[in-house]
Symmetry: C2
Subunit: 194 residues, 2 copies
DNA sequence: AACATCGGAGAACGTTCGTTCTCTCAACTA
DNA sequence: TAGTTGAGAGAACGAACGTTCTCCGATGTT
């Protein structure tokens, strides 16, 4: 194994799988090594410590998550449909067989009290999601307040689906989101207002 | 220390404080012993293992939490006010200086993948909360669907307040809850319909 | 062919932690 | 008073884990 980048990638792939499915403290560096096929020596050349690996795991998860969501949502033409698509995407996510909730909420519960870096990562992730929703809401010409409410519904769905393993919760969240959306004014015509 | 019950109480009080504020895996039995003043020997007479202590900690937390919520909510006269009071109580909870989110969500993130008992406790707690909301909603004469949506808002508020440390999120959740409540029919007269 | 370099496998080290054991002493009983 | 019981303090034990080190073989260079 000569390729440093390929090794990094294999380690991070293994970290994604292991940390997400079992939790961070439940996964030892030996497990990462076995799952990635990268020797301990090399592993510590690539990441100076487990904590560094954890932080990169979180950052990578954040960017992959954001991209997956945006790719799905932006296939919709109108702002209203895009907002609803957020919840459809959640449903798709919840249906993944190894869905176990939001890695950031989980990490925060596990290490947030003891690791400011992890707490910070969780905040960044949630802030990015909220900002994304806020942009969609603004594009639909509705008040920013709506974005806060949609974010609450989404967060609630994420943890409820994790604990009960019931993806349909995303549909309930979607219904509630649509109700709230129609409660708030929005431009009178669905399209073209400027 | 002759009194077995008093010792149990001190241990569980220490466990509440420590497990909630730092997380379960971050707290060793030595810390519980120091905080409670109960010797290790006695500790293991009272609880056969750390896992047993953790499970009792969760059960006790569940019953305390449910009682505190119900006591607050039931001071309100009408079903509608009671539903809103749930979110007011959340705000009160979020304002506690050592608020760190829902102990069950945190424990689930930490141990849910590795301990079916912990996952089960989290489900029970959430189910109890959902059922409580469902009773309030039913008493207001509104469709059960509303309870699901209110639960999502509450869960979202709980985790968002934990990660950002912003108790005001409870007010946003309350506002959204009121909007959803007024969206759903309910009896035409606020009182007396049979 | 001799040598240097590098990486892999996994042993080793030091620490932490859950759990048990030992030692000691105080309180109660005959 | 002698002996028994039980509790506390903390040492001890065994496992797990993060991190480092050793050994060895493969590869590439001259």
């Amino acid at each position: 194994m000569v390729d440093r980048e390929a090794a990094r990638e294999r380690v991070l792939d293994a970290a994604q799988e292991l940390f997400y499915s079992r939790g961070i403290q439940a996964v030892g560096m030996d497990a990462v090594r076995n799952a990635s096929g990268v020797s301990l020596k090399r592993l510590y050349q690539l990441f100076p410590s487990k904590e560094a690996l954890v932080l990169e795991f979180l950052q990578q998860r954040d960017s992959r998550w954001q991209r997956a969501l945006a790719d799905y949502v932006e296939a919709q033409p109108t702002p209203e449909e895009r907002i609803a698509a957020v919840f459809d995407w959640l449903h798709k996510w919840f249906c993944e067989p190894d869905y176990r909730g939001c890695a950031f909420i989980n990490s925060f519960g596990e290490l947030g009290a003891v690791s400011p870096e992890v707490a910070e990562q969780a905040q960044q992730h949630k802030r990015a999601f909220h900002d994304y929703l806020a942009r969609l809401v603004k594009a639909s010409g509705r008040p920013a307040k709506l974005a806060d409410q949609l974010a609450l519904l989404a967060e609630g769905a994420i943890t409820t689906a994790a604990i009960f393993g019931t993806p349909e919760i995303a549909h309930q969240a979607r219904d509630a989101a649509c109700l709230l959306m129609h409660t708030h004014p929005g431009p009178d015509l669905p399209q073209l207002r400027r």
